[in-house]
Point group: C2
Chain length 413, copies 2
C-alpha cells in the first residue's frame, strides 16, 4: 500500500464528464489498495475569467480581494469531485486550503506555503477516506485575522508537492494533458522521445527555458524534500515521466533534452566607457522600466570601451531601446542596436558535468548547419545559444540528432 | 448618521455593470453620512447552475459538499463589489460568512443562524470602511472541525436581517427587482397600489400565501428583533415599502392586501368512519409519500361518517389520490374525489382583529361574482377561500375593489 498524491489540472476537471473520469481513476487507485489525496485546480479558464472581471472593475484590484475571488474556482471542483466519489460509494471529503491546513505568508496572489497542518487530511486517510484538496489556495493569519490567499500560477502543482512532502507520500502524480516530458518539442522534432526518468535539476533548467510541464516552484519544492514526481496524462493509463533525484545512471546520458525559447529580442549597447558602476546603472534603469532581462554578455570593444548585449522578451524591446537611448548622452555610451527576433536554444543534461567536449559538439553542430551564434551562456548542466529566430527549428532538430536523443517518431495525439 | 444594512439580490449583481450600479448606491449612501454594511447574493442563476452540477454527479449529494459548492457564488460577488468600491476610493472589505462571524447550526443546505460575532464588521465600520458580506452562508463548528454551511433559499435576506439585528442597525434595506410590496399582483389588478407601511404579521401571511417579496424566515427574524425592513428597487431612487411593527394606525386599514396561490388541487375523502385516529393515519400516509398538505377541512357527512377535504400542490395530486386509494379497504373509507385545478385567494390585514363583518363582506363579494367557495380557513389576520382556479382572477379583482385597495394604475415596468 502506497500513499499517493494525485494532482489534476484545469483541463482534467473542465466539465462533469472529465470529473467523472478523474473519479474513476481515483476509485481504481483506491481499489489497487493505495491511500489517495487528490489536489485539484479550477475548471480550465475559470481563473482567467475571474481575474478579468476583477481587472475590469479596478486598475489595481486589492490582492486580498482578488484572492477571495480567485479561490472560489477550486472550491467548486473539489466539492464536485467529492460528490462524484461518494455517489459511487468511495468515501471522500472536499477540503479547502484552510481545512487542509495550508498556511501561507502574507504575499496575496503569490503567497508561499509556510507550513502544512496535516491533521485533517491524515485523519481522513486513517478513516479510509480520500482527501480532495483545493489547490492553489491557503490561508494567512495576521493580527487576529484569517484570510484566504492564493499561490499564483502553477500553485496547484505546488500544493500537491508540498502536501506530498508533508504527508511523506510515496509519489506525487501530476496529471496533465500531455503524457510526459519529452526530449524536445515533438511539434518541431517528430522523433522526440518521452523521457522515463529525469533529475530535478534538469527539469528546473528545462522549465526555466520554456518547457511548461511543471511549474519551477513545485520542482524546487520536490527537490528540497526529495518527493518523486510522476508526470502523466489524465487521458491514458501509460507511464509518464518520473522526476527524481539525479543519480550515476542518469549521468551516463550526456544530454537529456533540447529546450528553446523563441520570443526574445537582443539589444546591444556599444562603446560603453570603462568606468565602474556603468552596467549597474544601465540595468537599474531597465528594472525601473519593468523590463526583465534574461541573458547578458559583455565583450571588450575598441579603445578600452566595452560592448554589452542582453536579451529581453520581444514585447519589451521598444521600452528597452528607449531606456537606453535616454541614458545615451548622460552616460556617454555609443550606438544602440536592436535585433528584434532572436531565439535561444539550450541543451540540458546532468552528464555534462562528467563528459568533456559537450560545448564543442554543440557549437560544431550549429556551425555545420550554418547557424551564427549571437550569444552563449552556460550553467553546470546547461549550454544556451542565442541565434536568429528563423534558424531555431533547424538548430533544435540538429542538436536533438547530434546528442542521440531520437526515438521512434511520436504518435499523433 | 444611521447604520444601514443593504441587501442586494442576484439580479442586482448579475453582471459587472449592475455591480457598478450597486457600488454607486453604496458610495452615495456613504456620502450622505451613513455607515453601510452590504449583504450580497450570488449572481442570478449561479446557485441553480451549481446545484444542477452537483445533482448530475449524484442522486444524493452530500449536504456538506453541496454547501462548499454553493457558497462559492457569494464569494465572487462580494470580492467584486469590494474591488469596485476601492477602485473609486471607498474603503471596503469583502467578508465571507466565516469572516463576518455568522455561526449556524449543523443543518447543512438549510442551516439556521445561531449567533453572530460582529467584531470584524464593527471594527471595519469604526475604521470608516464598508463591510461587504457574503449572504446565504455561515460556518458550523463541530468536533474540532469548521465547515461552511448555507442557509437555504432566501438565505441572503436572512443574513441581512440577522446582521442588522446583531449590529443594532437603523434599517435593513432589501434591494430587489420590484419597487415594493403591492396590495395584490399588478398583473391581475392594474390598480394595485404600492403599500407604504405594512406589519411583520401581515407580510408573513402574504409571503406564506405566495407573494415572493421577502422570505418568511427573514420576516420572522425581523419581527423577533424588531428590525425595520425597507423593500425597494435597485433600479430606482424611489421609496419602497416599509415592513415594521404593527401599530394602531395600521389597524385603521381593514385589509392590507389580497394574495393568491393558484397551483393547488383538492382531494375529498367521503364516508370516513367515526373512529379516533383515522385522520392521523391518513395524513401520516400522505407525509410518508412526501405530499405536503395545505388546507384541511373536516365536515360531518351522512350516518355519523365524516367527509375530509384537503388541498395539495397540483403536482402531488396523483400521489395523494393513490395513497388514499391504497388505504380504502383497510380503513373502510368511502369515495375519493379529486378536483385537480383549484386556487386559494386570501385577504390579509391587521384591521380584521378590530373590525367586524370582514368575512361576511368577503363571502358576499364572491357570491355577487357567482364564485362558489369550496373551502374556507382563517387566522387572526387572514381569511382564505378555495375556489375553482378559473375564477381566481375575478375573485382577486373583486376583493381588491371591495376592500378599497385601489390606487392609480401601476406604471408599466
Amino acid at each position: 500500500m502506497a500513499l499517493i498524491v494525485q494532482k489534476y489540472g484545469g483541463t482534467s476537471v473542465a466539465d462533469l464528464e472529465r470529473i467523472r473520469a478523474v473519479r474513476d481513476r481515483v476509485v481504481a487507485t483506491r481499489a489497487a489498495g493505495h491511500q489517495v489525496v487528490v489536489v485539484l485546480s479550477a475548471m480550465s479558464g475559470e481563473t482567467d475569467r475571474l481575474t478579468a472581471m476583477g481587472k475590469r472593475l479596478s486598475d489595481r484590484p486589492s490582492p486580498r480581494e482578488m484572492d477571495l475571488l480567485l479561490s472560489s474556482g477550486e472550491r467548486i471542483t473539489v466539492a464536485l469531485l467529492a460528490i462524484a466519489l461518494e455517489a459511487v460509494g468511495c468515501r471522500a471529503r472536499a477540503l479547502t486550503g484552510r481545512q487542509a491546513g495550508i498556511y501561507t505568508d502574507t504575499a496575496h496572489t503569490k503567497a508561499r506555503i509556510e507550513r502544512i497542518d496535516t491533521r485533517a487530511v491524515s485523519r481522513l486517510l486513517e478513516e479510509g477516506g480520500v482527501g480532495v484538496v483545493a489547490g492553489f489556495q491557503g490561508i494567512v493569519e495576521e493580527a487576529g485575522d484569517s484570510r484566504v490567499s492564493t499561490l499564483g500560477r502553477g500553485g496547484s502543482d505546488t500544493t500537491a508537492v508540498a502536501l506530498a512532502a508533508a504527508l511523506g507520500a510515496d509519489v506525487c502524480e501530476i496529471y496533465t494533458d500531455v503524457d510526459g516530458i519529452y526530449t524536445t518539442d515533438p511539434r518541431i522534432v517528430p522523433q522526440a522521445r518521452k523521457i522515463q526518468r529525469i533529475s530535478y535539476d534538469e527539469i528546473l533548467e528545462l522549465a526555466n527555458l520554456g518547457a511548461k510541464v511543471l511549474h519551477v516552484r513545485s520542482v524546487e519544492l520536490a527537490k528540497k524534500f526529495n518527493v518523486p514526481v510522476h508526470v502523466r496524462s489524465s487521458f491514458s493509463e501509460e507511464e509518464g515521466s518520473w522526476v527524481v533525484q539525479g543519480d550515476a545512471a542518469m549521468e551516463q546520458v550526456v544530454v537529456s533534452g533540447v529546450a528553446y525559447s523563441q520570443k526574445d529580442a537582443r539589444v546591444t549597447v556599444r562603446g560603453i566607457p570603462d568606468r565602474p558602476g556603468i552596467a549597474a546603472q544601465l540595468f537599474e534603469a531597465l528594472a525601473n522600466a519593468n523590463v526583465s532581462v534574461d541573458m547578458i554578455v559583455q565583450s571588450v570593444g575598441a579603445e578600452g570601451h566595452a560592448n554589452l548585449s542582453f536579451t529581453v522578451p520581444e514585447g519589451d524591446v521598444a521600452t528597452a531601446q528607449e531606456t537606453m537611448e535616454g541614458l545615451r548622452e548622460e552616460m556617454a555610451i555609443g550606438a544602440i542596436e536592436v535585433d528584434p527576433a532572436t531565439a535561444k536554444v539550450s541543451i540540458v543534461g546532468l552528464g555534462m558535468q562528467s563528459h568533456t567536449g559537450v560545448a564543442a559538439r554543440m557549437f560544431e553542430t550549429l556551425r555545420t548547419e550554418g547557424i551564427n551564434i549571437l550569444m552563449i551562456s552556460t550553467s553546470e548542466i546547461r549550454i544556451s545559444c542565442v541565434m536568429a529566430r528563423d534558424q531555431m527549428e533547424t538548430a533544435v532538430r540538429a542538436l536533438h540528432a547530434a546528442f542521440g536523443l531520437e526515438g521512434e517518431p511520436a504518435e499523433e495525439g
